[in-house]
């Protein structure tokens, strides 16, 4: 692998981590969804680049799924849902932005230290992809725990899945079964969530998970 192909792959995977960081400080739902669309586009580019340098044509399918499904259909769908629900555009972040960013930096450091240390024998590109992927997964988790709104939790979860796709494509020659299943699971997950959102909306006119927390199942 020559320097340029490596650098481009590196750039794209690193870009994905940066976009994950951008999600951390979005305080409006529409902006968050737009950033997620950018996340999916960078993922699609990264996967397509992997397909090109690994000469693995089936990965183009994964890239196409990321581009069409995650970068276009889901963001458009979420925009619609938000409009139909008429929910507030402000995201109630449970933790302040400053401390969230600091925590994010800590998580990225952690995943770099961990993954680079345990993969000394793997191909250089694969190990960097794994380290970036773990960062994206942890940042996705961070988005999920710092938001109280159901839609932004869903977005956090999807960015987490993007990290998984990056890891799966970085692992050279990983069978197609898994990539398709990941794509499918996102589809299913989205349907499930969609159903739930509508049900929640039907009953309570709110998708704020915080409102659900009032009930603990045990009247005291």
């Amino acid at each position: 692998m020559n320097g340029l192909t490596f650098d481009i792959a590196h750039l794209l995977a690193g870009g994905l981590v940066l976009v994950s960081f951008m999600m951390l400080y979005q305080d409006r739902l529409f902006a968050l969804i737009n950033v997620f669309a950018v996340h999916a586009i960078v993922l699609a580019l990264s996967v397509a680049w992997q397909a090109y340098i690994q000469d693995a044509h089936h990965l183009y399918v994964t890239a196409a799924i990321a581009l069409i499904f995650k970068a276009i259909i889901i963001p458009v769908g979420l925009h619609r849902i938000i409009q139909r629900l008429g929910i507030h555009r402000d995201i109630e972040t449970a933790v302040g932005i400053g401390s969230t960013m600091l925590a994010g930096i800590g998580l990225v450091t952690l995943s770099m230290v961990l993954m680079l240390r345990v993969t000394p024998y793997a191909a250089p590109l694969a190990r960097e992809d794994l380290a970036f992927a773990l960062s994206i997964i942890l940042l996705g988790l961070l988005v999920m725990v710092t938001r109280r709104n159901a839609v932004s939790q869903v977005v956090g979860f999807m960015s987490l899945e993007n990290g998984l796709v990056l890891a799966a494509t970085g692992a050279k020659g990983m069978p197609l079964v898994v990539e398709i299943s990941v794509a499918f699971s996102i589809l299913i997950a989205f349907i499930v969530i969609g159903v739930f959102l509508f049900r929640i909306r039907e009953r309570f006119d709110s998708v704020d998970v915080g409102a659900l927390d009032d009930y603990r199942g045990e009247h005291r």
């Binding site: 993954m115 000394p120 692992a171 990983m174 299943s181 045990e218 005291r220």
Partner: protein, 483 residues
């Protein structure tokens, strides 16, 4: 013979799929409930036939070995008895209007898809396929937990969905890491995800990578096992969904995730330089046990009470498997079977009780043995069994866990015994109120199906008195396999 055995595996997978398609199209709920029972029975028969037929050689995707047969037969058996219970349960739900006919069509189809997912997870020889199957089973149960569409049911389903998805995402990352570890040794492609190939070459895998992979897998699948501190979804999902689903969640789905953990534990054990998975599992098991035992005291909802008891018992089982060695593995395996049977029997009973009383609040359920002796005594036997009193099966398996721990690590036995005793106290405390005393609440006659609960309890009782030697030999063999 080989072809026939392949057919048995195919039947275990195909019957639920076909049944799900039929059930989704069938508007009549009585017919659907009957078909559900018939399909579950056929699957059980197919699973039992695995014992007698010659096994197919492991393929790239499917595998039948001594370990998973135990799980498959248990799974299909409890799946069958639950379908019988479910038939009488849903009739009542339909009468009271909590569920409608379209709900039921959806429910029955989902039930069979869930059985398919669980069976697929057990027979899969491919760690990628296993992941997909566990995910499928999870998603179907999420949908069923939310089926009542009440405020509480939606919260429970949402929590279950979010925590379950995060868990499953971590498990996928662990799976990818295992592939990364295998790839330099086994080569690229499907083979590096085939479990039988992996275990053959595990000794040459990069141990550091395997270590990290196992941590992710344990956390990921551990979320689904309901190990503390990742258990938060479990009590809600048990309490708010339909009771047949609580029974299969506790009795079966937790086992599926446990089975996945065990498979990867074997992989790690085959690699001499990797960390030993035991201490991690022991720690998580003990934490779950002691935590759940304390939580049992504050429960006011009867289904939540037994959900926490499931966390407690999964803690004991994970602890036993973490200890390892033939005796502790034997005890863990036995405890898993006994817990599945007992806990689902308890949920069958509790389901009918909650229907009669119209509440799940423990304070409003009193004196059951007087008003509904059939249900009341079933609950007494079930709780006595689950609390670990002799002569029932769980006493025996808990005794084995405790004695093998005392023999090897007496210090670890202290928190173990403490947790078990604590849970014992809480359960008996609650039981006396529910089963005895001044009757309270509705005394309407029960239209319960007693066969599933009493057949489970009879099995647990029989196992406590006498374990047939072939079964013991079989379990010992599997325990040795588990290392």
């Amino acid at each position: 013979m080989t072809a026939f055995s392949l057919d048995a595996v195919a039947a275990i997978l195909l019957i639920p799929v076909v049944a799900a398609a039929l059930l989704a199209a069938l508007p009549n709920y009585r017919l659907a409930a009957g078909l559900n029972v018939a399909a579950s029975l056929l699957t059980l028969l197919a699973a039992i036939s695995l014992f007698v037929t010659v096994r197919p050689p492991p393929g790239q995707y499917l595998l039948v070995d001594d370990l998973n047969i135990v799980f498959i037969v248990l799974n299909t058996f409890v799946g069958f008895t639950t379908s019988v219970f479910s038939a009488s349960y849903i009739a009542h739900e339909l009468d009271t209007g909590r569920l409608t006919a379209p709900n039921l069509r959806f429910y029955h189809a989902m039930y069979q898809i869930m059985m398919f997912g669980m069976n697929l997870a057990f027979v899969s020889n491919n760690i990628g396929l296993m992941w997909v199957a566990v995910e499928l089973a999870t998603l179907t149960t999420v949908l069923m937990v939310g089926i009542y569409r009440t405020h509480e049911a939606l919260e429970a389903a949402w929590k279950y969905f979010i925590l379950g998805s995060v868990g499953i995402a971590l498990a996928l990352f662990g799976t990818i890491l295992v592939y990364m570890a295998a790839q330099p040794v086994v080569g690229e492609g499907t083979n590096a995800m085939v479990w039988t190939v992996l275990i053959e070459h595990a000794a040459r895998f990069d141990p550091a990578l395997l270590d990290v992979a196992f941590v992710f897998l344990l956390l990921g699948y551990g979320t689904k096992v309901g190990l503390a501190p990742l258990h938060a979804w479990l009590p809600d999902a048990h309490a708010e969904g339909p009771t047949p689903i609580s029974a299969v969640l506790s009795g079966l789905l937790l086992n599926v995730a446990l089975y996945a953990v065990l498979r990867f534990k074997l992989l790690l054990a085959a690699s001499p330089e990797a960390i030993s998975p035991g201490p991690l599992m022991i720690t998580m098991g003990l934490t779950s046990l002691v935590f759940a035992a304390f939580m049992l005291y504050r429960r006011r909802d009867i289904k939540r009470l037994f959900a926490y008891s499931s966390i407690e018992h999964m803690g004991i089982i994970v602890f036993a498997f973490g200890m390892g060695g033939p005796l502790a593995n034997f005890a863990g395996l036995l405890h898993m079977v006994m817990h599945s049977l007992t806990k689902s029997a308890i949920f069958f009973t509790v389901g009918h009780i909650a229907q009669i009383k119209g509440t799940q609040n423990i304070a409003e359920i009193r004196g059951l043995t007087e008003t509904h002796p059939g249900l009341g005594w079933a609950l007494v036997i079930g709780v006595v069994a689950i609390a670990g009193l002799p002569p029932l099966g769980i006493f025996m398996s808990e005794f084995l866990v405790v004695s093998s721990t005392f023999a090897r690590h007496p210090l670890l036995a202290m928190p173990l015994v403490f947790g078990i005793l604590l849970a014992f106290g809480a359960l008996l405390l609650r039981l006396t109120g529910i089963a005895f005393g001044e009757p309270r609440g509705s005394t309407a006659p029960a239209e319960a199906s007693y066969v599933p609960m009493y057949s489970h309890l009879a099995l647990v009782f029989a196992a406590g008195i006498y374990l047939p030697p072939p079964l013991v030999i079989w379990f010992q063999h599997v325990a040795n396999l588990l290392g």
